[in-house]
C-alpha cells in the first residue's frame, strides 16, 4: 500500500510539473499575476508529492518490504540501519528519486525565499525548473520505477553491494547530487533570463549564491568519493581519471568558471552572454555525467551493471534540454548588450583568463573521456584514454591558472597594475622559488623531478599569495594591530571566503604533487614476525585471524607500525567475504600522522608457501587533499553568509527586508 502511494504521488507530481512548466510561462508572457503566482503553490505541491514518494521508498527499505523489487534486490534484513537507509540511493532507481527530490527542494527554496525576485523572472525560473523535473519524472515512471512489486515476495533480499556499505559512500551520492542538481538553478535562471532578454547585475546576484551552494556540495561530494575510493578499494590511489570520476569533475570545472564569471557580471555588468552560456553548459555537463554513469557506455573501474535503454533516455533529456537552451541562446544572446569596458590587465581580465583556462581544461577532459566512444563509433579501434593523457593535458593548463590566482585578486577592476601586484607578491615569489630549488635538489635534480618542484613551488606561491592579499587588505603589520582587526571586521565575508577557498586549492596542489612523486608501494608475501620498511616506517606483520562481522566473515591481518624502534600504531586491515550478496571486499587500514598516511592491505594466503600477500604504502600529504577540499567548502560557506549574497538567497523575512531595499548595482 505504501509503495503504491509513492508511485501514485510520482504520477501526480508529473501532472503538477506539467502545469508548473506551462502556466507560469504563459502568465509571465501576458503579465498575468495570478498565472505567474501559480508557480509557487505548484512548487510546494511538487515538493510534498515527491517527498512523499521518497519517504515511501525509504519506509519500504527501513521495514525491509521485499515485495518491492527494488528493496528485494538491494537490501537485506541483516544490514545495519544506516545502510538500509543509504540503500535507498545505492541503486539506479532510488538514486534517480533522490535526484528529483533534490531538484524539487531547490525549486521550493526559490518559491519560498525568492520573494524579492521580479515576479516574471521567478515564474519563468520555476517553470524551467519544472520542465527538468517533468523530464526526469517521465524517466523514472517509464524506465526506472522503484515501486514495482514482486510476487511472491522473497524471504530475504539480495543485499546491497558491500562496497557501498560504507559511511563515506552513504553520503557521497546525496552530496554529489546536491551539487549536480544545484547547477540546475543556474541553468533555470539562465534560461529564464534568456526568455526575458535581460541579464543585469541583479540577476547575477540572485544566481551566485545558488551556484556557490551547488559548487560547495559538489566539492564535498567529489572529495568524499575520492576518499572512499582511496580507503575502500585498497589500491592506495585517490584519483584515476576514470570516466565516472571525470563525469563529476567536468561540472565542477565548469561550475568553478561560472562562479568566477558571475562575479564579473555582478560587479562590472560584463561577460553576460558568456556567463549564460557557462550556466547552460555546467548543467549540461551534470546531465552528461548522469548519462555516462547510468548508461555504462564507457568502461570504468567504478562502473556498475547498467541498462542501455536508460542511457538512451538520459541522452534524449540531455539533447532536448541542452539543445533547446542553446538554440534559445543563439537567438537571444546577441541582444544582450555588454556593459563595463576593461583592459586585458585588470581584475576582470584575470577572471576571464581563469574562465578560459577552466573552459579549456573542461574541454580537454571531455574530449579524453568521450574519445573512446567516438573512436569506437568511427571504427578506429577500441581504445582507452588513461591517467597519462589527462596528466599530460591537465597539468600544463593548471600551471598558468595557479600563477594568476595569486595575482588576480590584487589587480583593481577596469585597469590593473601587474608590476604593482608583483611587487606586493615579492615574499610569495621568493618563497616559491626557494621551495622550487630546494625540492628540485632534494628530488635529485633530474628532468623528471622538475614537475614535483614546480607543483610545490606553485602551492607555496598561491598559499603565501592569498595570505599576503588578505594581510594587505587589513594592513597587517603596517598599521597598529587594533586597526588591522577593525579592518578585518569590516571586510566582506566573501573576501575571507575567497582566501579560504584559494588556500584550499594550494593545499590540494601540494597534496597532489607530493603524493604523486613520493608515494612508496611494497607488495610481497609476509610471514608472521617479518618486518618490511617503507620510507622509514617499519611494518611488522603479526599474522592473521578470522573475525566475524554482522553480515560478513573476514580475515584480519595485524601489523605493528613503528618508526625508529618506537611503536606508533597497530594496523588491522581486513579481507571480508560478505554473505549477501556473496562478494569479497578489501578493507585497508590507515594510520594518519596528519602529514602522511601509512596504509596497509592484507590479501589472500599465499599459495605454495606460508604467509599472506600484503601491500604496504607510504602516502605523503594525502591528508592535505581532504584538508584542501574542506577549506574550499568552508570558503563557500563563509562566502554564502556574506550579507551581500543574501539578496535572493535563502533568507528570513526580517533579514531580507533591509538588503532587498538596496538599489540594484550597489
Amino acid at each position: 500500500m505504501i509503495a503504491e502511494l509513492g508511485h501514485y504521488a510520482l504520477v501526480l507530481a508529473f501532472m503538477v510539473a506539467l502545469v508548473q512548466s506551462t502556466v507560469p510561462l504563459i502568465g509571465a508572457h501576458r503579465g498575468d499575476a495570478v498565472m505567474m503566482d501559480l508557480a509557487r503553490p505548484a512548487a510546494l505541491a511538487m515538493f510534498l508529492l515527491v517527498g512523499t514518494a521518497f519517504a515511501a521508498l525509504t519506509y519500504a527499505y527501513v521495514v525491509s518490504d521485499f515485495s518491492v523489487i527494488n528493496v528485494a534486490e538491494n537490501s537485506h534484513t541483516d544490514k545495519p540501519m544506516l545502510y538500509k537507509v543509504s540503500g535507498v540511493w545505492g541503486n539506479h532507481e532510488g538514486s534517480l528519486l533522490l535526484w528529483i527530490t533534490i531538484l524539487v527542494t531547490y525549486a521550493l527554496a526559490v518559491a519560498l525565499f525568492g520573494r524579492n525576485l521580479p515576479p516574471t523572472l521567478r515564474a519563468r525560473t520555476l517553470a524551467v525548473q519544472a520542465m527538468i523535473t517533468a523530464g526526469f519524472l517521465l524517466f523514472i515512471l517509464f524506465t526506472s520505477n522503484p515501486f514495482l512489486r514482486l510476487d511472491p515476495a522473497p524471504m530475504d533480499g539480495r543485499g546491497l553491494n558491500p562496497l557501498l556499505q560504507d559511511p563515506g559512500l552513504a553520503f557521497h551520492p546525496p552530496m554529489l547530487y546536491l551539487g549536480y542538481v544545484g547547477f540546475s538553478m543556474a541553468f533555470s535562471f539562465a534560461v529564464a533570463a534568456l526568455i526575458e532578454g535581460k541579464v543585469d547585475a541583479a540577476w547575477a546576484r540572485w544566481v551566485r549564491p545558488w551556484t556557490l551552494l551547488a559548487w560547495m556540495f559538489l566539492t564535498l561530494g567529489i572529495a568524499l568519493g575520492s576518499w572512499w575510493a582511496y580507503y575502500e578499494l585498497g589500491w592506495g590511489g585517490w584519483w584515476y581519471w576514470d570516466p565516472v570520476e571525470n563525469a563529476s569533475f567536468m561540472p565542477w570545472l565548469a561550475g568553478t568558471a561560472l562562479l568566477h564569471s558571475a562575479i564579473v557580471v555582478e560587479k562590472r555588468d560584463a561577460l553576460k552572454s558568456w556567463t549564460i552560456l557557462l550556466a547552460i553548459l555546467t548543467f549540461g555537463l551534470s546531465l552528461l555525467g548522469t548519462f555516462l554513469v547510468r548508461s555504462g557506455i564507457i568502461t570504468s573501474v567504478h562502473a556498475f551493471a547498467s541498462d542501455p535503454t536508460r542511457g538512451l533516455f538520459v541522452l534524449l533529456l540531455l539533447g532536448v534540454s541542452v539543445g533547446g537552451s542553446l538554440m534559445l541562446y543563439a537567438v537571444r544572446a546577441p541582444s544582450l548588450k555588454g556593459g563595463g569596458l576593461f583592459a586585458p590587465v585588470s581584475r576582470e581580465g584575470s577572471l576571464l583568463l581563469n574562465n578560459l583556462l577552466m573552459a579549456t581544461a573542461t574541454a580537454t577532459v571531455l574530449l579524453g573521456t568521450l574519445y573512446p566512444v567516438f573512436a569506437d563509433a568511427l571504427k578506429l579501434g577500441k581504445v582507452t584514454v588513461g591517467p597519462p593523457f589527462f596528466n599530460a593535458v591537465f597539468v600544463p593548463l593548471m600551471v598558468p591558472l595557479i600563477l594568476t590566482m595569486a595575482i588576480g585578486p590584487m589587480l583593481s577592476w577596469k585597469r590593473g597594475d601587474v608590476k604593482g601586484a608583483l611587487a606586493r607578491l615579492w615574499l610569495a615569489a621568493a618563497l616559491a622559488v626557494g621551495v622550487f630549488v630546494v625540492t628540485w635538489l632534494l628530488a635529485g635534480g633530474g628532468l623528471d623531478d622538475v614537475m614535483a618542484a614546480v607543483g610545490l613551488g606553485l602551492a607555496v606561491w598561491l598559499l603565501v599569495g592569498v595570505a599576503v592579499e588578505l594581510a594587505d587588505r587589513v594592513k597587517l603589520f603596517r598599521a597598529p594591530l587594533g586597526e588591522s582587526l577593525r579592518r578585518a571586521g569590516t571586510l566582506p565575508r566573501a573576501a575571507f571566503g575567497m582566501t579560504l577557498a584559494h588556500a584550499g586549492v594550494a593545499l590540494v596542489v601540494a597534496g597532489v604533487t607530493v603524493s604523486s612523486y613520493w608515494k612508496e608501494e611494497r607488495v610481497q608475501v609476509m610471514v608472521p614476525g617479518q618486518t618490511v620498511t617503507v620510507s622509514g616506517w617499519d611494518f611488522t606483520f603479526q599474522g592473521a585471524r578470522e573475525v566475524q562481522g554482522p553480515n560478513y566473515d573476514a580475515v584480519e591481518g595485524s601489523f605493528v607500525l613503528s618508526r625508529d624502534g618506537e611503536q606508533i600504531a597497530v594496523l588491522t586491515p581486513e579481507k571480508r567475504q560478505y554473505t549477501s550478496p556473496p562478494m569479497p571486499t578489501t578493507e585497508a587500514a590507515i594510520h594518519t600522522t596528519g602529514w602522511a598516511d601509512l596504509y596497509a592491505v592484507v590479501g589472500d594466503a599465499a599459495q605454495g608457501q606460508p604467509g599472506y600477500v600484503t601491500r604496504l604504502y607510504f602516502e605523503p600529504l594525502v591528508p592535505f587533499l581532504w584538508y584542501g577540499a574542506l577549506l574550499m567548502a568552508l570558503g563557500g560557506i563563509v562566502s554564502l553568509t556574506d550579507r551581500r549574497h543574501r539578496v535572493g538567497a535563502p533568507t528570513r523575512k526580517k533579514a531580507a527586508a533591509g538588503p532587498a531595499a538596496k538599489p540594484a548595482g550597489a
Binding site: K382, T585, G603
Partner: protein
C-alpha cells in the same frame, strides 16, 4: 580601449587557449592512447613488445595458478586464449569464468605481463569491450557465461 579592440583581445586570448588545448591534446594522444585487444586480435596481428595495451576476455576455468604473490592465468574469448602473469593483489572480484580487463605489455614468449588488473565494483558488470569481443567470436557467449557462472556457484557456497 574601445569595445572593438577589447573584443579583439578576447578573441585572440580565446584562440590562444584553444590552440594550446588542441596542441596539448594531440601530443598527449600520440603517446597515451591505450588500445584494447582480445586474445583473437592478438593471434591475428603482431603487437610490438613495447606497446602498452589492454587485454580483455574471460578468465579461463582451471587456469588460475598462484605462486607467492604472482598469479598466472589465461584470458579467453572462446576462440583463442592468452597466458597472463601478474604480480600483486588481484581485485576482489577476480574469479575464474568471469570477465577481466588487464593492462600491460606482451613479452616475446607470448605471455602478457599485466601491470594492472582492473577492479570491478559489481559482479554483474561486464566491461563493454569484453562483451563486444565475446560477441564477435561467439554470439552465444551469454549462454556459455550463464553456465560457467552457475558452475562456480556451488564451489563458492561451500567456502
Amino acid at each position: 580601449m574601445t569595445r572593438k579592440k577589447r573584443r579583439l583581445y578576447f578573441v585572440g586570448a580565446g584562440m590562444l587557449a584553444l590552440f594550446a588545448g588542441a596542441a596539448l591534446v594531440l601530443t598527449a594522444f600520440q603517446d597515451n592512447l591505450v588500445f584494447f585487444y582480445s586474445p583473437s586480435d592478438l593471434q591475428a596481428k603482431q603487437v610490438s613488445a613495447d606497446q602498452r595495451f589492454r587485454l580483455g576476455g574471460m578468465v579461463e576455468e582451471g587456469t588460475v595458478e598462484k605462486q607467492g604473490d604472482t598469479v598466472r592465468f589465461k584470458v579467453t574469448d572462446y576462440a583463442a586464449s592468452t597466458p597472463v602473469t601478474f604480480t600483486g593483489i588481484l581485485p576482489d572480484l577476480f574469479r575464474e569464468g568471469q570477465g577481466v580487463v588487464a593492462e600491460g605489455k606482451i613479452g616475446s614468449d607470448g605471455v602478457f605481463v599485466a601491470s594492472e588488473v582492473l577492479a570491478k565494483h559489481d559482479e554483474n558488470y561486464m566491461p563493454p569491450e569484453v562483451a563486444d569481443a565475446l560477441a564477435r567470436q561467439d554470439p552465444a557467449w551469454k549462454e556459455k557465461l550463464g553456465r560457467s557462472v552457475e558452475g562456480v556457484e556451488p564451489a563458492k557456497a561451500t567456502n
